[in-house]
Symmetry: C2
Subunit: 356 residues, 2 copies
DNA sequence: GGAGGGCTTGCACACGTGTGCAATTTGGTT
DNA sequence: AACCAAATTGCACACGTGTGCAAGCCCTCC
């Protein structure tokens, strides 16, 4: 009660009250065997009664350990991040680390300020969990001279580690699922061209089809940017293809949401006329119409793994620089067998000419 | 370059190199007028060249100011939070404060650990941005003895302040908009019964109708929990009402999403047969089918205001304990005029008996 | 030329905690 | 009872930074 605004109690205050030196108090509270168990117990009780809370700054000053991890995020608005952060924080907390938040919203000036803040608080390590880090951001982070773990991103650089979902395997999962449903004419609406994840998913798509002896019509691959617009444009483009695909694999769920919308707009029923599969399993995938079948990234696990990796690095262990976690299929309602005779229920019906 | 792993340079290292005392360096870097401008400039250059970064812990130890604000969140998975946090962080950064993340996922044990972490790092203030704080959480936070600002929540307690969207006004906005479209039979699918925001929205709903001389059928008010299921159940319940409503005001967007889905499931077209309006304007409101008309909370502003409030409190200013920010209407496509003759296009048609 | 005053600078202490080493106490053994 | 080892405690310093006070310097004015 009303101790408010008065100085917090320090180890010395306890020492005075207990009639011992502050060293003894320090040792007692830290559980050192160098102090008489009875005194230790007495001191601990007293500390609790006086409401003692150790001062992290003072402690870190002498131990040169801050127990702080910087968590770098471009924007929290990314619906993808929540679970990742949960995983990170859980492991961090278990290991006695605290999280420092640094978001930049892709503003270079703020990135700089954020990095400075991380430096001043002497973070022991950094976890970068964001879809895109600014070009210059990473070099600045490297200058901190602490281990860095990237999530869903890869850079070739010493002292930089990464944890990622296995995009290639996820794409294989998606495409082979569609093939198992009977599809052979499968399109891909791509993500940001530069994104590594996009290249991997693309490759997984191509190679899965190839393994089944299918060469996708080049018109079935349309570029995008990972946002809903891309899904809308993508569907429009695909409708103009001479041979209409019966299923679409989308770079991510946001793209798939746009695709769903566009499909509905032109009167295509999902999944009866067209199957759509996404990637990520964001929160809202369960609430689209129809609920979106998608490839789930093990977000929570990725967060935990990244933080565990960082902990190992902090302990000086050697760690493999890049880890991949498998994705899994989440079946909902946006995929089904191809339409009868594989003729999509829309205008121009000249479709079949290239089929086996 | 390779300074990695060696001790970071301190003020004393600079002093030695510059041939002055560390006091002079300290003053030079802090811009004190007590040091010769030429020396100051020389020292600043040297510091930059040596890659000096002040040690926040050491500084805060002597100044007794940490420049750290605790950001308490139950879960990042709340799609509502992103913008709020952005506002908070922006103002914090401008004012030279850092954010410490404390999420609890509603686990009492973790709440305790989180509060302890906040206490040990001597946060100067706390912002609580979460839909629900655990019962015991707040008392623990209060024990920190620092100012607390709640976002979208209110408690009657000294030293606790709050910023909230004006739920009452938002509800008035929603319901009067529906009435302007021609609706008179308007339902409310409520949120968590205990939530203050729910009571306020409910009240706004009731009083707006009352002001127009309308007494809503008690069957048009169904309880919920703020989650999509509530919307689904709500629609089912409303379909059983003797007089069918033509519009539904939902406690929040998640509820509205459930309502949209249920409406579609029973073959009701939105907005032709039924208008649905939500509350919050979460990211996905723009991507539902049809895109959801909703009441937007000024999330970004709320974040900024909360942080500004905290700053003022930290400067010892007196501040009004509770602030309300107005909501605004976001028109999309889920609302329209009531159906012809106000007869919903569904089964049992015995509807009209109580109409004027 | 000396006194006084304004600039600069350094000394020394403080913040709260941890720890090596020496000092003191305790307990056991002869 | 004396002695030794072990257990316990305190002293003093360290971490990096900020700051009151005194000391030193230089310039100006009488």
């Amino acid at each position: 009660m009303g101790r408010r605004a008065s100085r917090r109690v320090s180890i010395k205050d306890i020492a005075r009250r207990a009639g011992v030196s502050h060293s003894t108090v320090s040792r007692a509270l830290r559980g050192s065997p160098l102090v008489n168990p009875r005194t230790a117990e007495r001191i601990r009780r007293l500390a609790a009664r006086m409401g003692y809370v150790p001062n992290a700054a003072a402690r870190s000053l002498v131990t040169t350990r801050t127990s702080i991890i910087g968590l770098v995020i471009t924007t929290l608005a990314d619906p993808f991040l929540a679970e990742i952060v949960r995983g990170v924080e859980e492991v961090a907390l278990e290991a006695g680390y605290r999280l420092f938040l640094a978001t930049s919203n892709a503003d270079p000036e703020r990135e700089l300020a954020a990095v400075r803040a991380l430096a001043e608080s002497r973070v022991e390590g950094v976890i970068v969990a964001s879809s895109r880090v600014g070009e210059l951001y990473l070099p600045h982070l490297e200058a901190l001279g602490v281990p860095i773990v990237l999530i869903n991103q890869q850079r070739e650089a010493p002292f930089i580690y990464s944890v990622a979902a296995d995009s290639y395997q996820g794409a294989v999962l998606a495409v082979s699922y569609l093939m198992r449903l009977g599809h052979t004419r499968i399109a891909y609406i791509a993500g940001p061209p530069m994104a590594r994840s996009n290249r991997l998913r693309w490759m997984g798509y191509q190679e899965t089809l190839a393994a089944a002896g299918i060469t996708p019509d080049p018109e079935w691959i349309v570029e995008g940017n990972g946002r809903p617009e891309a899904g809308e444009w993508g569907i429009q483009r695909l409708l103009e293809a001479p041979v209409r695909p019966t299923a679409v694999f989308c770079y991510n769920d946001m793209t798939a949401i746009g695709a769903l919308r566009a499909a509905r707009a032109v009167g295509l029923r999902v999944p009866e006329d067209l199957s759509i599969i996404g990637f990520d399993d964001i929160l809202f995938a369960a609430y689209t119409e129809p609920p979106l079948t998608t490839i789930a990234q093990p977000k929570y696990e990725m967060g935990r793994t990244a933080m565990s990796m960082l902990l190992r690095l902090l302990q000086g262990e050697r760690v493999s620089p890049s880890l991949q976690l498998p994705c899994r299929l989440v079946e909902r309602a946006s995929c089904g067998p191809p339409p009868e005779g594989s003729i999509p229920m829309v205008p121009h019906l000249l479709a079949e000419r290239r089929l086996p």
